[in-house]
Amino acid sequence: MEPTKLRKALPWIGTHLLALAAGVWLFRPDAADSAAGNVEAEAVAATLEEQGAGPAERSGTGRPRTPREASAAGVHRLAWKSLAYEGLDRQERLKASGLILREWVKEDWQAALDTVMKETPDDYELLLHFDEVFRRDAGEVWSLIESKRYGVSSQSLKARWLVRISSLDETQRREAMEGLPAEAREAIEKREKQG
């Protein structure tokens, strides 16, 4: 190319390079994923609300989620759903679901609980991954049960929660029961009498 022509073309080469850089920048994976993650998190949240598993009506149950938690819920929820494509047998799938729950419960146990309660009752054995939550956040769990967040299935949650609280040693049980309303304490005492 002649020097004069090259000089004339330089600005256009520059603007084309800028366009290339803009393409790389705008569509870089983490940016697209982050956007997708937000959309997914919103979609998940919307789905949960549509299906009656949104924040519960009673106070103390519907702690507003931070954006980070919502996004994390999207990630865990995606991983959860993707197990359906893995061809795992039931026992393997339950174990894999349990591993995802192990992380999810730490990030946002309420979103994780919503997800388990939306599976069929024969998957409720996964509730054992909430043993620590049942003890630590006994009041919040009781509020979810009382608000009938999961319809009739709230009773299944209640049964498992009662088993967990009843299995605690004396000190832990006393701690867990602190601040619980009278109905909850009565339910625990009744469960203990049944043995």
Binding site: W12, T15, H16, L17, A19, L20, A22, G23, V24, L26, F27, R28, P29, A32, D33, A36, E40, A43, V44, A46, T47, Q51, G74, V75, H76, R77, L78, A79, W80, K81, S82, L83, A84, Y85, E86, G87, L88, D89, R90, Q91, E92, R93, K95, A96, S97, L99, I100, E103, T115, K118, E119, T120, P121, D122, K148, G151, V152, S153, Q155, S156
Partner: protein
């Protein structure tokens, strides 16, 4: 103007090229659009697009549950630990967050193994201290692999009677299945000494390796006068009728079995018919059907009625077993990874003989399994049937669902048969609600009663209420009986 247009297009093309380049190897072609996970049987058409972090999480979970302990690595690592180190390390690793997995950990298994080599009883006491779980079972297998069959049997005898010792006996059975029949028979004779012989024999039979019933027969025959008792022990002690049936299949064509065993089997026709119902699907279908004639209710049936009755039960057993131990089709259906038709096709491929024998039974059984996940989507499998046949299939499914169904799920299943009912359907619907109502009241208590009050008018409301009222009257709960007996 023309030049500006060209420049605009070329800039956009370059921008697009940049985008293509940077995304090309990030997103595999199969990663497609994502729909928020929903509890539905509607096929979503594609695998959800996974964020890299979600993909990593799912991949790790799958890899963890697929991972098995590498015995050679475990043994090598165990060899490097002193006894004192081993116990300390075993206790520490068992208590940390990763515990017994999944994934299983070679270093943890190695610590237990090194400890076990020094003090078997203390190691096992600690392993069983807080109950068993699959991860502990994997470690236990590593420990017992160290023992000769004789040492293994001694351990079973020396341990106190418990479910854990029973597990050790099962694993002895697995080991005996690999031995020469005479050697295994000698150990079986030893196992039959002492007070706990019945429990130990039961464990050994249950642990006998799958597909090796012929070796069990050889072992029993090698034991001499004890053969009949050992063969009967296999038939009676296996928890799984499918496994027990392996022995019936294996004795076919043999003429070296003790006469008294064969005579006894002649007297156990009901058991034979029952076990063939659960036979492995590799047993020819016609043979299973014919053997089911041993059942009292099919003994005098015409060939057509025998086939009809037997196919109904065989299809139920085989497809239910597949759903329990095969790929988790119900989860795939629930989350939209497979449609009902796709699952039906997979079932047909798994059981080609059954599918060829009765498309109807295959179809209806798959519907049976999927309806509790999403009744509406599963209904596609039977929607083409004539109305009466379809109604009966729906009601039958509701009566014989193998799942714990919430009242909402149950209602959505049985509502697919809207009524009015024929004289054949009416008592079945009543039976369905009668059974479900009793179960649901036990499970959900007052919450079920509240739910029952909210049912919309219709045949299911009427039957659900009337059967519940009768049940409450029987239980002496007059208020509830009165409330629900009125419409």
């Amino acid at each position: 103007m023309k030049r500006s247009l060209i420049l605009l297009v070329s800039h956009l093309a370059v921008l697009g090229a940049g985008a293509w380049y940077v995304r090309a190897d990030h997103r595999p072609a199969e990663e497609l659009q994502h729909a928020a996970a929903t509890k539905t049987g509607e096929r979503s058409g594609s695998r959800p697009t996974l964020e890299s972090s979600a993909k990593r999480l799912a991949d790790e979970a799958v890899a963890s549950v697929k991972k098995e302990l590498d015995g050679a690595v475990v043994r090598a690592a165990a060899g490097k630990l002193t006894p004192a180190e081993a116990e300390k390390l075993a206790r520490a690793l068992a208590a940390d967050e990763k515990g017994f997995g999944p994934p299983p950990r070679e270093e943890l298994a190695a610590a237990f193994l090194a400890w076990f080599r020094q003090d078997r009883m203390a190691t096992l006491d600690f392993l069983f201290e807080k109950g068993m779980e699959p991860g502990k079972d994997a470690v236990l297998k590593q420990l017992l692999a160290e023992l000769s069959p004789q040492e293994h049997l001694k351990l079973v005898i020396d341990r106190p009677s418990s479910i854990y010792t029973f597990r050790i006996a099962q694993l002895l059975g697995t080991k005996l299945g690999e031995l020469e029949p005479a050697e295994a028979a000698a150990l079986m004779a030893e196992a039959q000494q002492g007070e706990r012989s019945r429990e130990i024999l039961r464990g050994i039979a249950q642990g006998w390796p799958e597909g090796k019933a012929d070796r069990y027969i050889d072992m029993a025959l090698a034991s001499g006068g004890n053969a009949t008792a050992l063969l009967q022990s296999f038939l009676g002690n296996l928890q799984s009728p499918r496994r027990a049936c392996e022995l019936l299949v294996a004795i076919k064509g043999r003429n070296d079995l003790p006469e008294d065993f064969m005579r006894k089997l002649e007297e156990q026709k009901e058991m034979v018919g029952h076990l063939y119902r659960y036979a492995d699907p590799s047993v020819p279908l016609d043979e299973r059907v014919e053997q089911m004639r041993n059942l009292a209710w099919l003994r005098d049936a015409t060939p057509e009625k025998l086939r009809e009755g037997a196919l109904k039960q065989i299809s139920t057993v085989d497809i239910n077993e597949l759903m329990k131990s095969g790929p988790d089709y119900r989860y795939a259906f629930r989350h939209g990874a497979m449609s009902a038709e796709e699952i039906l096709e997979a079932v047909r491929k798994t059981f080609p003989e059954l599918a060829a024998a009765s498309d109807y039974e295959t179809r209806v059984r798959v519907y049976n399994e999927l309806a509790s996940e999403d009744a509406g989507a599963a209904f596609a499998l039977i929607s083409h049937l004539p109305p009466e046949e379809r109604n009966l299939a729906v009601i039958h499914q509701a009566r014989w669902s193998f799942r714990d169904n919430s009242p909402e799920t149950y209602y959505s299943m049985i509502s697919l048969a809207p009524g009015p009912d024929s004289s054949e359907a009416a008592p079945q619907r009543e039976d369905a609600w009668n059974n479900y109502g009793a179960m649901a009241y036990r499970e959900y208590g007052d919450a079920y009663v509240e739910w029952l009050r909210t049912l919309p008018p219709g045949i299911n409301r009427d039957v659900a209420r009337s059967t519940f009222a009768k049940s409450m009257a029987t239980q002496g709960k007059k208020d509830l009986a009165d409330e629900f007996s009125s419409r």
